[in-house]
Each structure stands twice: as structure tokens, then as C-alpha cells.
């Protein structure tokens, strides 16, 4: 996954910001080594000092409290509770129509929750009209003012604040530079491409530097390179200005890159909220596992749970063992979730003591240049995917179609899911 590299790059500005940030973060930074000393194994490569959600005393800056939103008899958001912390970069992921935009619109003030309330900095905002909320939203449809130039669009919010003319001009130039639209300053929106319009909408929503910025698919129309650049600029900006971002995206790679935490939504409910690495390594359900990245799900029944080891009896590969503290009953249906890159593949039978060995026929091979994905058909009919880096150009005996291949994975590599 390309996210690994980008995630590492991201760590630098994070730390810089942590230094600049006041007391609270510093205290937490000190606490960090203790945690890592006590647990020898950690999830993911990136460890950040910014993690207010682990602090029981920290109060969320934005709090959706048991929010339900119904349109007629259709429930768009269903009894959702979610806290987002100050200076957090929070992403919402989820399929189309799962209620992401509706959630943002309720915070911006364009929809009223049918039930529940939203607190901003501890204050119920239900009575505050949208134009007074310290929240700016970038609309999924951009909603650019067609009769105004790009510069006027960006300046619009600043003018409402009665900012002095000179400052407005400076801020507009800064924003134009951020989104690389300097030469389009005096164009009207209809003279711009889709991606350019999206950038104007982004610039317009950021220009006011609101405490909370809601971005509804801010980068969807940009090409990959520009999108990655803009992602980092967004992160920098968020760090420099200490803003709180809540962003909707369809691009899970983007969510992994930019977010402090991610929430995966489905049918108006939040399925899981966690850091990108936790989300990837410890999905809490098949839905999340499947939604984020590629994964093998091997169905079976739990045959024993003891001492941090779970054994699952599967039709495809017999008994498989996973190191995990799990509350489950014997005989319960469970799924072993294992990422393809954590499954090793070979033509020789692994050593006798190797855990979790499976064998099957190579059914399909997906060659992607840097890696190859092998689809191996188990005797019972299930397919298990294994990912292998193409480390050398020439291989003595490449794995090929219809080969009998041996698969194995470490008990630390997988998770057992009960739902």
C-alpha cells in the first residue's frame, strides 16, 4: 500500500506541531515511552503523541450525542454518538448514501437532528443559526457563486467578517497559492475545469480559518499527484493554524494518509472509530475489514480460547491459531481476517513447526509490477490471497497457475472477527 510511505512522511510535521502545541500534548508525549515499554508489540509503524481520545479527561471539541436524522420514514443517521477533539484531523469513510454528508450538514446547521444534540466546545449549538457557527463547510457540489470571480468567491467569507480590504487581498492570494490557482484569480467559475472548481471551493472554505472545517470530498476531482500535494498542504495548514478538520472521503488511502482517526460508517451508524493503523490491523468487523484494503476472510468455528490464543476450526485449512485476547464461546462462528501481504506463499512445504499452514492450487495471479497477488484455491473451495513482493527480476522456478502452493501466516498477523 502506498499509504505506508506517505504515512511516514507525515510524521514529521506532526511532531513539529506537537512541540508548538501547548501543555496537554507535551504531557502526553512524556507518557508515550511508558506505554511502548509495557507493550512490546505495537500496531503500525506510526506512533504519534497526539491522541486525546486515549485521555479520559479530554473533552471532545465536537460531540454528536445520540444523533438521529430521519427524512420522512428513511433514517439517514441512526443514533450516532461521536466525539472529535480539538486540532484533530478526522475522516469519515463509508459507502454512498450512508449519511456522511448529512452528518456534516447537521454540524454546519443546514439540517436539524431529529433526535439528539450536537455540542461544540461543550455548548449545544442547536439554537445557533448557520451563519453564526464557527464552522465552515466545503460543499460536495462546490456551490461556487457563479456571478463572482474566483477571487471574489474566496473573499466572500472574509468580507462578511468585515476584514480590512488589504488583509482580504493578502489572504485571497495566500489561498490561491495554496490551491495553485493564482492565474485563474479573475475567472468566473464556469470558465474552470471540475478540479479547478473543487480547489476554489476548498480555498473558499479554508479562507476564514474557522475553528472547525468540514470538507465533503474535498479532493475527489483532482489527479493523483495534485491530490497528494494538496493532502500534505491541508495537513500543514491544519497543524499551523490548529484547526479541527472533519472530512468526508471515498478514498481510503487518502483517509489513511491524512487522518488522526477514521470513522467507518454504514447505514447511518458508525461501525468503527480508530487510528488508521488500528483500523487496518484490527478491524472490528468483517464490514470494516473488507472496506479498508484487501483482506482474506476465512470462516470457521471457535474451537478454543485460552491464554491469549484463539483456535479456529476452518473447513479450508483445518485449525488456525491467532494470538488475540478474545471473549468468545467455543463453537461460535468466527472469521479469521488476514491481509494478503501477511500470508507467505511458497512451493515447498514449510517447516513442521510453522503455525497456520494451508495448501491449495494456484488459481489466479495478479501481477502489479511491484507485487503479485496469488489467488490460491483451498480444497474446500475457498480462495486465499497471498501478496508477494517481486524482489528479483528472475526467479528460478516461479509460482505459476495450477501449482500446488503452500501458504502460512503468523498467529500475530491475523485477527479473529465475530461479526
Amino acid at each position: 500500500m502506498a499509504t505506508k510511505g506517505t504515512a511516514a512522511k507525515k510524521a514529521a510535521p506532526r511532531k513539529a506541531a506537537a512541540k508548538a502545541a501547548p501543555q496537554k500534548t507535551a504531557a502526553r508525549a512524556k507518557a508515550k515511552p511508558e506505554i511502548s515499554a509495557e507493550k512490546s508489540k505495537m500496531v503500525g509503524s506510526v506512533r504519534r503523541s497526539f491522541a486525546p481520545w486515549t485521555d479520559p479527561d479530554a473533552k471532545p471539541f465536537i460531540l454528536y450525542e445520540n444523533i438521529t436524522k430521519r427524512f420522512g420514514d428513511f433514517t439517514a443517521v441512526d443514533d450516532l454518538t461521536l466525539g472529535i477533539y480539538e486540532r484533530e484531523f478526522f475522516s469519515l469513510l463509508g459507502g454512498s448514501g450512508c449519511g456522511k454528508t448529512t452528518l456534516l450538514r447537521m454540524l454546519a446547521g443546514f439540517e436539524t437532528p431529529t433526535e439528539g444534540r450536537i455540542l461544540l466546545d461543550g455548548q449545544d449549538i442547536s439554537k445557533i443559526p448557520p451563519y453564526k457557527r464557527p464552522v465552515n463547510m466545503m460543499f460536495q457540489s462546490y456551490a461556487l457563486f457563479p456571478h463572482m470571480t474566483v477571487a471574489d468567491n474566496i473573499a466572500f467569507g472574509l468580507k462578511q467578517d468585515k476584514m480590512p480590504k488589504g488583509e482580504i487581498a493578502d489572504r485571497v492570494d495566500e489561498m490561491l497559492k495554496l490551491v495553485k490557482l493564482e492565474q485563474f484569480k479573475s475567472r468566473k467559475p464556469h470558465m474552470l475545469s471540475g478540479g479547478q472548481r473543487q480547489r476554489v471551493a476548498l480555498a473558499r472554505s479554508i479562507a476564514k480559518r474557522p475553528k472547525v472545517l468540514l470538507l465533503d470530498e474535498p479532493l475527489g476531482a483532482l489527479d493523483k499527484k495534485l491530490r497528494e500535494q494538496t493532502q500534505f498542504e491541508l495537513i500543514d495548514l491544519q497543524q499551523q493554524l490548529g484547526l479541527t478538520f472533519q472530512i468526508v472521503t471515498h478514498d481510503q488511502e487518502e483517509a489513511m494518509t491524512v487522518s488522526d482517526r477514521i470513522a467507518v460508517m454504514n447505514q447511518g451508524k458508525i461501525i468503527q472509530v480508530s487510528t488508521p493503523a488500528e483500523m487496518y490491523e484490527y478491524p472490528n468487523s468483517r464490514f470494516v475489514a473488507d472496506f479498508i484494503g484487501d483482506i482474506n476472510l476465512i470462516e470457521g468455528t471457535i474451537s478454543s480460547v485460552s491464554g491469549g490464543k484463539v483456535t479456529v476450526e476452518t473447513a479450508d485449512a483445518g485449525k488456525l491459531v491467532v494470538n488475540q485476547d478474545l471473549k468468545a464461546d467455543k463453537g461460535q462462528t468466527a472469521w479469521i481476517a488476514i491481509r494478503p501481504e501477511k500470508v507467505s506463499i511458497g512451493l515447498k512445504k514449510p517447516a513442521a513447526r510453522t503455525a497456520n499452514v494451508m495448501s491449495g492450487e494456484v488459481w489466479d495471479i495478479g501481477y502489479l509490477g511491484d507485487v503479485s497477488t496469488y489467488h490460491v484455491k483451498m480444497p474446500a473451495g475457498g480462495i486465499v490471497k497471498a501478496l508477494q513482493t517481486n524482489a528479483t527480476r528472475l526467479v528460478e522456478r516461479p509460482i505459476t497457475w495450477e501449482d500446488q502452493a503452500w501458504l502460512s501466516f503468523s498467529p500475530d498477523g491475523a485477527v479473529v472477527l465475530l461479526s
Partner: protein
């Protein structure tokens, strides 16, 4: 072969509006123009010269020589005409403003109504067209006359004592009422179409950026409805200038409008040449706003097309 057919077919289609204009606008206009250069005569038709083919080319040239600008000179000598033109333009202008002020909220309300209502509301705006324009203006006489409906209503609700009566009929006020009433749909329809296609999320975006909804109306909604405002104003102003029926039926002797002047010139004085000259000047007066209108439309189109 088929392509050739196709293209000539398209040309034919393009020709239709031009043919229409030629036959029903340009030719009648040229006839009126010619009459306006003629002299009044006790004859049938009541002017000279008349062109006829019987006298050949020489007769044609002789008749042409008789044409003169006398009628136009006459129009400048009697200030009745100039006052009529000015008064017509003024009345049309005021009526247009009132129509805009009345029509904008109507169109706005329609555009903001729940979508399942809009077709019905649109129907209601168009509904008056099902009755003849003349009859509707006549109906206003019944409402506005001293012992009419308005007096009765005002007396019943006590705003007018039983011995008082409204004095609106045969005044310029009645003409304003008539014009505003009659031309309101021409204002509402273009306004509605401009307001209806406006994206509601623009107002949300404005509000989101800290703009009060009332202010958002002026900085977003109104500028975006400007093409509708312009179209509506011209659609009301241009026919209102030449309006005859309304000032004739509702206006009094004090209401001077060029349409009425033209009518009395034509029917009372049987002075076809002078009334033709009045009509030609009226057209010239209206050409200015028509050209302005077209320019505005063109600019709007250019803006949309980039």
C-alpha cells in the same frame, strides 16, 4: 445526397422566421411608413398620393415626388404629441417598476414553494390568459367605478363612510392598476424561471460563510435573478408604452398616452398620414429599449457561454 437534402431543409427552417418577419412586419411597416409621408385627402383611402400601376413608371415617379416630411414636422409643432410620448414612457416606466415590485415576491414565493406545488402555482399565473384581455380590463371598470365593487367592500369594512365613493376610475391610477394587473404574468414568468434554476446550496454556502440570510438575498439571489429582472422589465415596458386599451377604458381625459392619441388621430380625425407618422415615431422610441434588451440578452448569453 441525403446530406444535401438535410442542409437545404435546415435552411428552409431558418428561412421561416425571416419570411414571417418580412410578410407580417416589414411589409406592413413599409406601408405605414409610406402613408406617413403622404397627405390627408378626402378620398378612399384618405390620403394622396396612391401608387398605381396604371400610370406606368412616370406616374410612379410623380407620386413619389409628392411624398414629404410634413407630417413629422407637424408632430413637432403641436406639443400634444411630444407630451403623449413622454407621458406614455413615464407611465410605462412607473408601471414596470410597480410590476417588478409586485412580481418579484410572487415569483420568489413560487420558486421556493414545495416542488409538487410549483406546477399548480405556474398554472394560476397563466390562468388569466384564458379570459380575453379586453374582458379582464372591462372587469376592472366594475371594480373601480364610484359605485363599484371596491367602494362596496371598503364601505362594508368601514374604511369608507356610506356617502363616500372611491375615485379611481378615469384617473392615471386606474391605468397603473390596469397595466400592472395585465402585464404581471410577463414579469413573473421570466423571474420565476431565473429564480427556480438557482441552486439552493448557494444560499447555504453564503450562510455558511457568515452571511445573514437577508443579506444573502441581495448578494446572491438578486444578482443571479438579474437576467429575469431585465427580461421581465422589457416585456412589460415595451408593450406598455404603446398600450391603448387600458388607458382608453380605465384612464380619463387627463391620462395622455400615445396609443390613445394615435387612435383618435386615426378614427376621430381620419388622419391616416399623421397617425402613421405617430406610429413610426413610436417604433423609433421603442427601438432604443428593444436594442438595449437585446444587448443585455446577448451579454447574459456570453456570460453563460464564457
Amino acid at each position: 445526397m441525403a446530406e444535401h437534402h438535410d442542409r437545404s431543409g435546415r435552411r428552409l427552417v431558418l428561412l421561416v422566421p425571416y419570411l414571417w418577419l418580412l410578410v407580417f412586419f416589414l411589409v406592413p411597416f413599409l406601408i405605414v411608413l409610406k402613408i406617413s409621408f403622404s397627405q390627408i385627402a378626402v378620398a378612399m383611402p384618405p390620403y394622396t398620393p396612391t401608387f398605381s400601376l396604371s400610370q406606368g413608371w412616370d406616374g410612379f415617379v410623380a407620386a413619389f415626388r409628392q411624398l414629404s416630411f410634413d407630417n413629422y414636422v407637424w408632430l413637432t409643432e403641436d406639443d400634444l404629441y411630444i407630451r403623449s410620448y413622454l407621458s406614455s414612457v413615464w407611465i410605462a416606466f412607473v408601471s414596470t417598476i410597480i410590476t417588478l415590485l409586485v412580481g418579484y415576491p410572487v415569483a420568489y414565493g413560487m420558486a421556493r414553494a414545495p416542488s409538487q406545488w410549483r406546477a399548480t402555482l405556474l398554472m394560476l399565473v397563466i390562468l388569466p390568459f384564458w379570459t380575453s384581455f379586453l374582458i379582464r380590463v372591462y372587469a376592472w371598470i366594475g371594480i373601480l367605478k364610484p359605485e363599484g365593487l371596491l367602494t362596496v367592500v371598503l364601505q362594508t369594512i368601514g374604511l369608507l363612510s356610506p356617502d363616500e365613493q372611491v375615485r379611481i376610475l378615469n384617473t392615471t391610477t386606474a391605468v397603473y392598476i390596469g397595466i400592472v394587473y395585465s402585464y404581471l404574468p410577463f414579469m413573473v414568468l421570466p423571474l420565476y424561471s431565473a429564480l427556480e434554476k438557482m441552486d439552493a446550496s448557494l444560499l447555504e454556502a453564503a450562510e455558511d460563510l457568515g452571511c445573514h440570510p437577508l443579506k444573502a438575498f441581495w448578494v446572491i439571489t438578486f444578482p443571479l435573478s438579474l437576467p429575469g429582472v431585465i427580461a421581465g422589465c422589457f416585456l412589460v415596458f415595451i408593450p406598455a408604452v404603446g398600450e391603448f386599451v387600458i388607458p382608453d377604458l380605465l384612464g380619463g381625459s387627463g391620462t395622455l398616452m400615445i396609443g390613445k392619441t394615435l387612435w383618435s388621430e386615426f378614427f376621430n380625425n381620419r388622419d391616416w398620414p399623421v397617425s402613421s407618422a405617430v406610429a413610426v415615431i413610436l417604433l423609433a422610441v421603442l427601438i432604443i429599449p428593444i436594442v438595449l434588451f437585446q444587448r443585455a440578452q446577448q451579454r447574459a448569453q456570453e456570460r453563460e457561454a464564457g
